[in-house]
């Protein structure tokens, strides 16, 4: 287990280094000169040359990379080219918002998805199962801007239960933000729900077929005990992986949902940084998302192995 951890953390470091090189190289390849972008169309060659010197853009690329990467590790993520303020607080604040949204969404769709998945598995091939699998597939397929607009039309504008616009003040606390989180969280959940339900359903069906479940039934254990102790402990293992993969997606990939509701999350910050060619901001956002993906995958592996005695205790 210790070796496993050391190795996995080692892999994550390598992933992060490779990702940082790729991110750095790609941002260098973007069209347009950074100094030109900052100073605008009508700046003089001289002014641009001065700014390049000031920003260190004339140094060899590897020096620039090391400088940037070193700064990143020390917590100095550079200044935004647009607002001229440090990037880190901006990213962290948006990350905080994304975490709030992700948290609410996970609380909605993970338990619900597991519940529906297990229920569908128990009713395999019956009406309830076909309904659950069919509807959840449909929601996985529907783009978020469609579900989002439908929800806004019915729940926000029609019934006036929730606010239609979630462009909260970036500094709001969770308590203040909560009402605004519900609709975007539901939108996201409709997509996530399908994945969780389907994975849980197939995992549970596989386990229900095993000899050890037959054995548990024929031990005469109460049906609930068979389900919770013998079935779910084994059948939810693949679901753990799906949940962890969802975390990365929730924190960095909700560009459409955030745009539909105007929610100030990390996804929209990325779009903004691309539109404005704000390279330090884009680099920082990308690195944060890569890190989140790596860490949530590691968390999934660790939880998986903690739940799975075949990995936790060697033979």
């Amino acid at each position: 287990m210790t070796y496993f951890l050391i190795r996995r953390i080692g892999f994550i470091l390598i992933t992060l280094i490779l990702a940082s090189i790729i991110i750095f190289s790609i941002t260098q390849l973007l069209p347009g000169d950074v100094a030109r972008v900052i100073l605008g169309q009508f700046a003089t060659e001289r002014a641009i040359e001065n700014l390049r010197e000031e920003l260190g853009l004339n140094r060899p690329l590897h020096v620039q990379y090391l400088d940037w990467a070193g700064g990143f590790v020390r917590g100095d993520w550079g200044n935004s080219l647009v607002s001229r303020t440090p990037v880190r607080p901006m990213v962290m604040q948006r990350l905080g918002n994304s975490v709030m949204l992700a948290g609410v969404a996970l609380l909605i769709y993970v338990p619900l998805g597991i519940l529906l998945g297990v229920f569908a598995a128990l009713k395999k091939d019956k009406m309830a199962d076909q309904l659950i699998t069919g509807v959840s597939m449909a929601f996985v397929g529907l783009p978020e801007f469609v579900t989002g607009l439908l929800l806004i039309t019915f729940l926000a504008i029609g019934l006036e239960w929730f606010p239609a616009n979630s462009s909260i003040n970036p500094e709001s606390t969770f308590r203040q933000a909560f009402p605004y989180l519900i609709l975007p969280a539901i939108t996201v959940s409709l997509t996530g729900l399908g994945y969780i339900a389907r994975m849980t359903r197939s995992g549970t069906i596989d386990v229900l077929r095993t000899d050890y479940i037959r054995a548990a039934d024929l031990k005469g254990l109460p049906a609930g005990q068979v389900l919770f102790k013998h079935v779910l402990r084994n059948s939810l293992l693949p679901t753990v992986t799906i949940v962890a993969m969802g975390i990365g997606w929730l924190l960095g990939g909700l560009i459409v949902t955030e745009a539909v509701y105007g929610y100030p999350g990390l996804g929209r910050l990325i779009v903004y940084s691309i539109q404005r060619q704000d390279l330090p901001l884009l680099q920082a956002c990308s690195m944060v998302i890569v890190a989140i993906y790596s860490i949530s995958n590691l968390a999934a592996d660790i939880i998986y192995s903690l739940l799975n005695p075949r990995i936790r205790v060697g033979s």
Partner: protein, 690 residues
């Protein structure tokens, strides 16, 4: 007077299928009394597991009980609700399943899996249930029960898991215990230990046992009564003595004739396979279900189904012609023309000092050099094989026999040693061997499902080696494929069938035809018949013998089934932990003096004859890991005849005990002969050793 525990009458089980309603078990009645072990035998598809599931009312969703009554003691099981059934399951009726690795929950500790039964049915507290679990583990003779209770399934061997399942089943002291092929997935040595355990426990507990198996040897060893099921109907029922010695049904007689004997082999007899196949439930013959395969069948047999009738006290048969069967006598196998003594032809294969070490993957790549470990799967094996000759290799699973075969084939690259085919030194890897060598060596694998491409018709599979290794043109190819199908007794139209349209035995015939297509001088058979029914096994063994006679091919025959090895082999090599311990002619290896390991294997072998009394020599535990091979004699940790420190410290010497018979043991051969006496064979049937 023992009381009747299970009384199942006229049970008919029906499945809803695409072909409509099919009665897979028809009008079967079973009575089992307390303290009785009832053996239910039959080939696959006979409906034995379905019957068991019907008795406990745990049929798959598409199956239901169409007719019949099932009483457990005074309780009519058919009137119970689902929740009342749950109280019966695990309490009054318990079950032990075939594959212990699959039947134990991988995520719940062993102790808890026993304790939960005690809490549910015996209403025990957590602590009491824990103690009960330890008591049960002790009862099934588990070493160190406290440690085992805290382990998970993957940390235990198959034999240990089967004990756990038996412990679970006996926790509530049930009235009826149903065991469905409980030892089929185990090694013969482990099987013997489990069978002993079952026998002892049943003497102690007075439980009624329904013991389902396809192995007649196992029935003869543990059961009191036996029922023979065929195509969903009971053919014969009676006490062990009645059924084995006074068979009243040609199917029973046929089954027994399929089992190879340990005192004679292919030179003396050919096995009597039952012709044809078990009918599918949608294609049942109108008369007796066995009539299409029965030599004795006459007109009346094919018209009306004969009832199960009691002929003598407690002995029932569904055969109208049981009297004719009696006059047929008990000779079930054809004797063959006496063969000349072993003739030693040209050397075909010589494998010298073959070794295969697998590196153990270190947890960290850069640490693996420091903690370098190796699995010594094959550690110095030398064999010589001659023309038209069969070498049998026996040993428990994990002893290295398959790895050795794969090294010979080049499927695994040997670590060291020399492999010569007809005097020519071969490269280790199959990829480096010339086509001509590939042609000369062919292999038949254990599982025909996995070794035939499901998308290719059977003829295509057979044609490939002809095309690739013999470069035949199209016309010659077609003729040859037809000849090969004929040679393995498959009808010509099977050439166009896909593997899923063939039965297991037919698929293996195709695999054999494919191997012979290349016209090999050496064929390696890795457990080619193990997964098949006894009657199919017999016909395949006959086929292998016939093909060897006509083509002069040599076989390296690997199996854990000693009887099959004994029947087919000229020579037998006994392998344990990657090394040979005894080698010699089949006749010599099966009579004392033998190596203590061979002795234990033979003693474990279930023989379908209730009169054979075998020495009960049992091995402790399972084969040690090939990563930590014991010092001195590798067998000393489990050897029942260990003589002392010498076994732990010194490698034993090879001893010549006769004409090319060698064994490797510290105990002198003549002492072994005294210790082992007459060995396996019945007194007087053959001389004591030599």
């Amino acid at each position: 007077m023992p009381k009747k525990v299970l009384d199942a009458r006229n049970v008919t089980v029906t499945y809803r299928t695409e072909k409509g309603l099919l009665d897979t078990v028809r009008k079967v009645s079973l009575q089992i009394c307390s303290g009785e072990i009832y053996g239910l035998v039959g080939e696959s598809g006979s409906g034995k597991s379905t019957l068991a599931r019907a008795i406990v009312r745990y049929l798959p969703e598409n199956g239901f009980l169409k007719n019949g009554e099932i009483y457990l003691g005074d309780t009519d099981l058919l009137t119970l609700s689902k929740s009342e059934m749950r109280r019966v399951w695990g309490g009054r009726v318990t079950m032990v399943h075939q594959d212990p690795n699959a039947a134990v929950n991988p995520s719940v500790m062993i102790g808890e899996q026993i304790a939960e039964v005690a809490r549910t049915h015996l209403k025990m507290s957590r602590q009491e249930a824990k103690d009960k679990a330890l008591e049960m583990l002790t009862k099934v003779r588990m070493a160190d029960p406290e440690a085992v209770a805290r382990r998970y399934a993957h940390q235990l061997s198959g034999g240990m898991l089967q004990r756990v399942l038996i412990a679970i089943a006996m926790t509530t002291n049930p009235e009826l215990l149903i065991m469905d092929e409980p030892t089929t997935a185990l090694d013969v040595t482990t099987e013997a230990v489990i069978l002993d355990l079952i026998g002892d426990l049943m003497r102690e507990y007075d439980t009624a046992v329904l013991y389902i198996t396809h192995n007649l040897g196992v029935v003869a060893r543990v059961c009191n009564r036996v029922g023979v099921l065929y195509a969903g109907e009971m053919m014969e029922e009676g006490s062990i003595g009645q059924v084995f010695k006074n068979k009243l049904h040609p199917y029973t007689r046929g089954l027994l004739g399929c089992v190879p004997r340990v005192d004679v082999n292919k030179k003396d007899i050919s096995l009597k396979a039952i012709p044809g196949y078990i009918p599918r439930p949608d294609q049942l013959p109108p008369g007796c279900v066995f009539a299409p395969r029965c030599e004795l069948a006459e007109g009346a047999c094919r018209e009306a189904r004969p009832p199960l009738a009691e002929i003598e006290s407690g002995h029932l048969t569904a055969c109208r012609r049981y009297k004719a069967l009696r006059s047929y006598g008990d000779v079930v196998a054809d004797t063959r023309d006496a063969h000349e003594e072993l003739e030693y032809g040209e050397l075909v294969l010589e494998a010298r000092n073959v070794k295969k070490y697998f590196p153990v993957a270190g947890s960290l790549p850069f640490l693996s050099k420091v903690r370098k470990q190796e699995v010594k799967a094959v550690d110095d094996i030398t064999v010589r094989m001659r023309h038209s000759f069969t070498m049998g290799i026996v040993g428990e699973s994990g002893c290295g026999k398959t790895t050795f075969a794969r090294c010979i084939m080049g499927l695994e690259e040997a670590t060291a040693g020399e492999i010569e085919l007809e005097g020519e030194l071969l490269p280790y890897s199959v990829a480096k061997r010339p086509p001509e060598t590939l042609r000369k060596m062919q292999m038949v694998f254990q599982n025909p499902d996995a070794s035939l491409n499901p998308q290719h018709p059977a003829g295509e599979a057979v044609a490939r080696p002809l095309k690739l290794l013999r470069r035949m043109d199209k016309k010659a190819l077609q003729d040859r494929v037809r000849e090969l199908f004929e040679a393995v007794n498959l009808p010509e139209d099977y050439i166009y069938r896909l593997p899923h349209e063939l039965s297991g035995g037919e698929k293996q015939r195709v695999a054999i035809a494919r191997a012979f297509a290349a016209d090999p001088t050496l064929m390696i058979c890795d457990e080619p018949i193990s997964s098949l029914d006894v009657s199919v096994q017999a016909s395949l063994m006959n086929l292998l013998v016939d093909l060897q006679e006509s083509k002069g091919t040599s076989y390296l025959f690997i199996s854990h089934d000693l009887a099959a090895v004994r029947h087919l082999s000229d020579w037998i090599a006994v392998v344990y932990l990657g090394r040979l311990w005894e080698i010699g002619s089949a006749e010599d290896v099966f009579v004392p003096p033998y190596h203590p390991y061979t002795e234990a294997l033979l003693s474990a072998l279930p023989i379908p004859d209730p009169d054979v009394r075998q020495e009960s020599i049992r091995l402790k535990g399972s084969v040690p890991s090939a990563m930590n091979i014991p010092s001195g004699c590798r067998f000393h940790t489990r050897c029942p005849r260990k003589i002392g420190a010498i076994c732990e410290n010194e490698e034993p010497p090879w001893q010549n005990t006769g004409y090319y018979h060698q064994l490797c043991c510290h105990i002198p051969a003549d002492e072994l002969l005294v210790l082992q006496g007459y060995g396996l064979l019945k007194k007087g049937e053959r001389g004591a050793g030599k």
